[in-house]
Amino acid sequence: MSFLSYLINGISLGSVYAIIALGYTMVYGIAKMLNFAHGDVIMVGGYVVLISSTSLGCPPLLGVLIAVIFCTVLGVVIERVAYRPLRNASSSLAVLITAIGVSYLLQNLALLIFGANTKSFHSVVTVPAITLADGKMTISGETIVTILSCIVIMVVLTLFINRTKAGQAMLAVSEDKGAAQLMGINVNRTIGLTFAIGSGLAAIAGVLLCSAYPSLNPYTGSMPGIKAFVAAVFGGIGSIPGAMIGGILLGVIEILGKAYISSQLADAIVFAVLIIVLLVKPTGILGKKIQEKV
């Protein structure tokens, strides 16, 4: 029984990673950049919900909505101000370092506004826990909501990309920017839209993460951010189903590793699995093979 509950916890944590990884992978697919500030957008989302529910007294769902809108706007602004000017820079490292700068900026702004103290976060989930097998196993409301929202996001996102014009434009831009532009696609707007969606998802992930692990400080986002990045690479960066699979696998490995091997080594195990997968499949589980032309 305990194995099953660990597994469910793992899937739940993995769902959060998957939602964050979606943001990473979409941005990477389209802008070919590692957005190191993505993890910190999660933290911002958490703080926005915290303020709107404690200081402004909003109902939790409204708070989540405010957080999503705030982070979406934030994502677009970051892209416009910090990343767009560097899109055609001669080295791809330039935009990576700028992303690191943005990450420092968000962390230190949060530090300045909210202080370094860890704030306790009240779960926004009101779904009751389910008890199974005569009380031997309980699944918390947070777990259910997390897994369900992950599935919903996944389905909606897949439909959006495959069925709408904007989604098709995103695919086209990620395939070939120049050709997409010739076909009359507004590349700048499409990339902006990708950042908007990614950041909105990060806000949802932030709320879910803080509901499951109820504490919040300016550095809350950085480790899940890195893990989600690992998950995105794990599944094959640039691939949306890959991010999903990578995220969930990573969550399960982490929780099972913590439970059965060593809690201190859980992170090391996660990273070791990543290395092994990449050595066998150098572009991740669902990654495309890159043909090299001479």
Binding site: Y28, L34, F36, A82, P85, L86, N88, A89, S90, S91, L93, A94, V95, L96, I97, T98, I100, G101, V102, Y104, L105, N108, L109, L111, L112, S222, I226, F229, V230, V233, I237, S262, Q264, L265, D267, A268, F271, A272, L274, I275, L278, L279, P282, T283, G284, E292, V294
Partner: protein, 355 residues
């Protein structure tokens, strides 16, 4: 006098900057014009400079992105601190002990560089970056669960806690898991740091200008072309990677012997550290060794110089970082700089006069 070529001249200037900086600091020290805060920062400054130089070898010369450099520093720091702690009573001359520790730390990190490099260097681009990041985190994690004790019966190892080492009563715990190594002899000085910087510079600049360095740069510029003229890709990639790791290990040795307690925290050996070194390299100019030195010094001093602004200093640091990147790399900004550069203005005046 024989004519000195441009490269050699540039190298001499780089060495000169380091020596002049050292002399200025020594003068300030002897006249008592340096605050104790700045004095405490001198050795870490050398550590960062060496790390930036060594990472620049991988990023600038080899052209691969490594985000696990702090891991190699960690290996160098812990292996050398362990050695120094064990040998404190046996080798009493601190200079000899430090040199041995330095060699040990650098070799250990270099070996790790080879071990990690063999599988990792098959990957390319961002995949290589994430795997090196993963290795760095694994090293940090492993060090945190490592317990080593010493007693009359020899060394005891454990990965659980210090009690399960089963030491005899007079035994001593040397590496104490998350508490790390305490009481490492503090042998690092600013002079040693500067000498190490010069050695690092010597190694890297000579390597870059050698046949091996040319091969490494050929791989960076075009891997397939390099392969087709018979350059052994794996060998040269591994060479650059392991030399860089060994130099980072040396920086770790310097770092470890500057602190009384050495612990592996996310702050000093985590990916944040690797990223910080990468920031030095990119801001100083990818592949430009002199730039790395200057950037490392400025960016380490900047938060300290802004100390008066207390809470705002890291915020300003972040903003400065973003603005500097935009100024240096954005195509529009480069265009603007080209148009308004001093050289051009002077030229314009000249042509105006002639006409």
């Amino acid at each position: 006098m024989k004519k000195i070529n441009k490269q050699t001249k540039s190298n001499i200037i780089t060495y000169g900057i380091v020596v002049v900086a050292f002399i200025i600091v020594q003068l300030l020290l002897s006249t008592g014009n340096l605050s104790s805060l700045m004095e405490g920062l001198l050795v870490p400054l050398c550590v960062y400079v060496i790390l930036a130089l060594s990472l620049n070898l991988v990023v600038g010369i080899l052209g691969e992105l490594s985000l696990g450099h702090a891991g190699f520093m960690c290996v160098g720091a812990f292996s050398s601190a362990f050695f120094s702690k064990c040998m404190e009573e046996i080798i009493t001359v601190s200079a000899v002990r430090f040199i041995l520790a330095l060699i040990l730390g650098a070799v250990a990190a270099g070996v790790f560089g080879i071990l990690i490099g063999i599988p990792v260097l098959r990957l390319r681009g961002d995949y290589l970056a994430i795997v090196t990041l993963a290795f760095g985190e694994i090293i940090k994690n492993l060090v945190n669960v490592l317990y080593i004790g010493k007693d009359a019966a020899g060394f005891h190892f454990s990965t659980k806690d210090s009690i399960s080492l089963n030491l005899q009563p007079e035994g001593e715990v040397i590496v104490n898991g998350p508490q790390g190594i305490t009481g490492t002899p503090q042998d690092s000085t600013f002079l040693i740091g500067v000498i190490l910087i010069i050695i690092t510079l010597f190694v890297i600049l000579n390597m870059v200008n050698s046949r091996d360095g040319r091969a490494i740069m050929a791989i960076r510029d075009n891997r397939i072309a390099a392969e087709s003229v018979g350059i052994n890709i794996t060998k040269y990639k591994l060479m650059a990677f392991s030399v860089s790791a060994a130099l980072a290990g040396a920086a770790g040795v310097l770092y470890a012997h500057n602190l009384s307690t050495l612990t592996a925290l996310p702050k000093n050996f985590g990916y944040n550290m690797s990223i910080m070194i990468l920031v030095f390299v990119v801001l100083g100019g990818i592949g430009n060794m002199r730039g790395s030195i200057i950037a490392a010094v400025i960016l380490t001093l900047l938060p300290e110089l802004l100390r008066g602004l207390s809470d705002y200093r890291m915020l300003i640091y972040a903003i400065v970082l973003i603005l500097m990147m935009l100024f240096n790399w954005a195509p529009k900004s480069l265009e603007w700089r080209e148009k308004h550069s001093l050289k051009r203005l002077i030229k314009k005046k000249k042509t105006a006069k002639e006409a």
